[in-house]
Symmetry: C2
Subunit: 114 residues, 2 copies
DNA sequence: TATAATATATAGATTATCTATATATGTCAA
DNA sequence: TTGACATATATAGATAATCTATATATTATA
């Protein structure tokens, strides 16, 4: 099922930081990984991702370096910083509070965990 | 905890429809109800709500009528339509898919239920 | 050799919020 | 009684996070 795009707003940064918390990646790879891990629910657009990566680097959440792949193609890898991990932690807490609040209104049991 | 405002994007319509699926309400009341049901996490602004209500009415998801309260104050009540309930159902499914996808990326078990 | 996939990038449009402001009535305390 | 605050609705304009469209260049495949 396709996800309403507007729902994605605000969580993209968290998802990117989470990917990079596991391993360094280049932009195109992040798009593929998000697609796979979400069962095709997320199709982050290049036009969204690259400007966002630049912004996160400016905010000292990421650093970048270039690396040449086996096929001689140059890729720009991103690495999460200490500050990035701190932001990730905060954003995960916000995410939990947010989903708990929405689910609370929806009437079901809250899915939030401590 | 205050919710990152950008996270709210896209779910406001669903929350309003859900409130009205339970009982008819007027705008100011919706703001109060959302605040209470979310444990102060959501503080929907009047400047967001009223234009949204007008839009939902134009899209035949809601109808409205005026009613005079005990204190002689006139309130504009909203009622959900059949189409509104249909939209609510769809939006709830999207919400489940979305949270399942995010939680999937975050690495925990998916909270999505069928 | 053309087409699709890989890879990064920017400009401009869209859209859902927000803040600020306006108007008007009801309630309560000084 | 009057000033402040809560109730109640409304609109204009600002902000921010997406999107689409476009550009460029290389690699893989048919």
């Amino acid at each position: 099922m396709a996800i309403d795009k507007s729902l994605l707003t605000g969580s993209t940064t968290m998802l990117i930081l989470k990917l990079l918390d596991e391993t360094n990646m280049y932009g195109y790879q992040m798009i593929e990984e998000l697609r796979k891990k979400s069962n095709n629910a997320f199709e982050l657009k290049a036009g969204t991702l690259y400007p966002l990566l630049h912004t996160l680097e400016q905010k000292n959440m990421l650093t970048s370096y270039e690396e040449t792949a086996d096929n001689a193609r140059v890729r720009k890898y991103y690495s999460i910083t200490k500050n990035g991990r701190k932001q990730l932690k905060e954003k995960k807490e916000e995410w939990k509070a947010y989903t708990a609040a929405v689910n609370g209104v929806l009437g079901g049991a809250s899915f939030a965990t401590a």
